[in-house]
């Protein structure tokens, strides 16, 4: 799993993500996120990396932060 920055325009990406959610209900946002996760997972296409990402996402960084 790569944790070093790789997104060329982080602010632009984040803005596009927010724009996609604009005006959606909570349920619609959840549906959008789920579709996005699946699309991105297929871009990655590496089983070990996908499982590492699931693990990393499962650990809430705000409670398991290491110094």
């Amino acid at each position: 799993m790569i944790t070093e920055p790789r997104i060329p325009d982080p602010d632009g990406f984040y803005a596009a993500l927010l724009a996609a959610h604009e005006g959606l209900s909570e349920a619609q946002s959840a549906d959008l996120n789920a579709r996005l996760v699946l699309l991105l997972a297929n871009q990655c296409g590496d089983q070990a990396v996908l499982l590492a990402c699931i693990r990393a996402a499962t650990e809430d960084p705000t409670t398991t932060r290491t110094p």
Binding site: A27, A30, D31, A34, R35, V37, L38, L39, N42
Partner: protein, 549 residues
């Protein structure tokens, strides 16, 4: 309200109870092999043994086939099972009666989101699947067993108690003519999901029960539909729940409807209620008649070990999975074929008890894999939380336009011949070899199953061996159950024509390569450059002989 007709009930065969010699005798008879339960796995085992010339006693508490009349349980017979039936001599009958299919389609709403063609990966003489009501398969097996004449079939014979002995098992049997006791060197429990033998021996099955509810309608109608497996994740004609549609013999369709978890099972299986569902699916003008209606919930269990001393568990007695993918009955049939040749070689003094341990070492992991696969299908079909519903909605939505998401749509992964893990008797692990069509050097046709149907021997396929090596290998294995065959060349061995399909299927292309195929058509060893000594060692290893020098 529309009323709905039922077809006349099937007339199933009944076999007579014949009082066995043990009744009225004070002497306890000891039998080498006793099988309890004449369902698909018990019958397959008895038939497999009989085909090998091995006698067995088969006990069943009933005197007919099927469960609760003609209610069909299993319907899909997978290629590996069909290859076993081919070797036993009933596959032609099954093919003539049943529905051959290889194509499946999955729908969401009115849209097709996924399809598969299982024929694409097949090199076998048998098709990927044949659908047939389970009672027909049992019927054909019983008639074949009677024809082979090696099995002591005891109908109306209920096992009331088993007692493990140091060298076997004592069995108490209840019959219409009284009770008797007998002993067995080995007892095979094929009594199904509710095995009283398992319960009596106190063996933990790790059972769990799903809250998902379904209702089967077996129905005959006139609408022409293709003989394909159709599944809906969320059918518009079933309130957005799952539906399965499959054709069986005699023009009977198995339509299986997912129901709400909290449904009233008595109400949803009333003919008027089931009929209204069918009317919504088939449209207003299609006439239909019911053959059978039955609500069910599914469950699963898995024994930690399929062997307990002299007692072996096969089929549902050992493992139960949810029905998605037809992995229940098929794995029971394949349990039987795994155990049959091993029991036969032990009975014939050509292998020791250690070979029987490999039954558990191979079939328990296969069942564990089937449990994992079917549990994943069940979970896709019955999401357990709002998050699971959200993810499934995403999969189905994406599947409509993106091919990658179609692989995530899971309405059952069809039964396969499971690979076996590496183990002492299978150093490379085991993979099934399909029933390849073959040709002798003189042009006569044969198949792998025909070669394996002749006695209980492994088959050694050797690509163009040298004449002296072939002679030495025959000498080195003369006392062992092996039939050595050459693929091409001029070795003096019985020779099959070189064949690209065979070479590709087994991954051997060069002269000197060798594949050892077990009597259950699993590959036991691959030797890229075989020698007579290496062949003999590979064979002894596969038979779990003591190979320490």
């Amino acid at each position: 309200m529309e009323t709905f007709a039922f077809a006349p009930a099937y007339e199933l065969p009944v076999w007579p109870f014949t009082p066995p010699p043990e009744l009225g005798s004070t002497k306890t008879v000891r039998h080498p092999i006793v099988i309890v339960g004449a369902g698909p796995s018990g019958l397959t085992l008895a038939c497999d043994l009989a085909r090998r010339g091995v006698r067995a006693v088969l006990l069943d508490e009933d005197d007919t086939v099927g469960v609760r009349g003609a209610s069909s349980r299993g319907i899909c017979y997978a290629q590996k099972s069909l290859e076993i039936f081919e070797r036993l001599g009933i596959c032609e009958r099954i093919a003539a009666k049943g529905i051959t299919w290889s194509f499946g389609r999955t729908f969401s709403g009115a849209q097709e989101v996924y399809n598969f063609n299982l024929q694409a990966d097949s090199v076998s003489k048998q098709p990927p699947f044949i659908n047939l009501q389970q009672f027909y398969v049992e019927w054909f097996l019983v008639e074949r067993i009677l024809e082979l004449g090696r099995t002591d079939m005891r109908w109306k014979s209920r096992v009331t108690r088993v007692e493990p002995l140091s060298d076997g098992v004592r069995i108490e049997v209840e019959t219409p003519a009284g009770r008797y006791t007998m002993e067995a060197d080995r007892l095979i429990d094929a009594t199904g999901a509710n095995s009283p033998i398992r319960t009596q021996l106190g063996i933990e099955a790790h059972a769990s029960r799903s809250t998902d509810r379904w209702c089967i309608s077996d129905v005959r109608f006139s609408k022409p539909l293709p003989a394909e497996r159709w599944t809906w994740v969320d059918a518009p004609f079933n309130e957005g729940r799952g539906v399965w549609q499959h054709l069986m013999a005699d023009g009977v369709w198995r339509i299986d409807y997912q129901m709400p978890e909290d449904c009233d099972t008595a109400r949803i299986s009333q003919p008027e209620v089931a009929g209204a569902r069918l009317r919504a699916q088939l449209g207003p003008d299609v006439a239909f008649e019911f053959v059978w209606i039955g609500p069910y919930g599914y469950r699963d269990h898995l024994l930690d070990s399929f062997r307990h001393g002299h007692v072996f568990f096969i089929g549902d007695a050992a493992h139960v999975v949810s029905p998605f993918g037809a992995r229940g009955g098929n794995s029971g049939i394949q349990d039987a074929a795994n155990l049959g040749w091993k029991l036969a070689l032990v009975a014939q003094g050509q292998a020791g008890d250690a070979l029987l341990d490999s039954y558990d070492a191979e079939r328990q992991p296969a069942a564990k894999q089937n449990l994992q696969v079917t549990s994943r299908s069940a979970r896709f079909l019955a999401p357990r939380s709002p998050a699971e519903h959200t993810l499934r909605r995403a999969v189905v939505a994406l599947a409509a336009c993106h091919p990658f998401a179609r692989a995530l749509v899971n309405t059952g992964r069809m039964s396969v011949a499971n690979d076996y893990p590496a183990a002492p008797q299978l150093p490379e692990g085991g993979r099934s070899v399909q029933n390849l069509p073959l040709r002798w050097a003189d042009g006569r046709e044969t198949t792998l199953m025909q070669l394996l149907a002749d006695g209980t021997r492994c088959i050694g396929l050797w690509w163009a061996p040298a004449r002296a090596e072939a002679k030495a290998a025959v000498d080195a294995t003369v006392s062992l159950p092996l039939r050595l065959l050459a693929i091409g060349g001029d070795s003096g061995l019985p020779t099959l024509q070189a064949d690209e399909k065979l070479a590709r299927h087994l991954g051997i292309h060069d002269a000197g390569g060798f594949v050892l195929v077990r009597p259950d058509a699993y590959r036991a060893a691959t030797l890229p450059h075989a020698t007579p000594a290496a062949i003999a060692t590979a064979l002894r290893t596969a038979l779990a002989h003591d190979t320490t020098p």
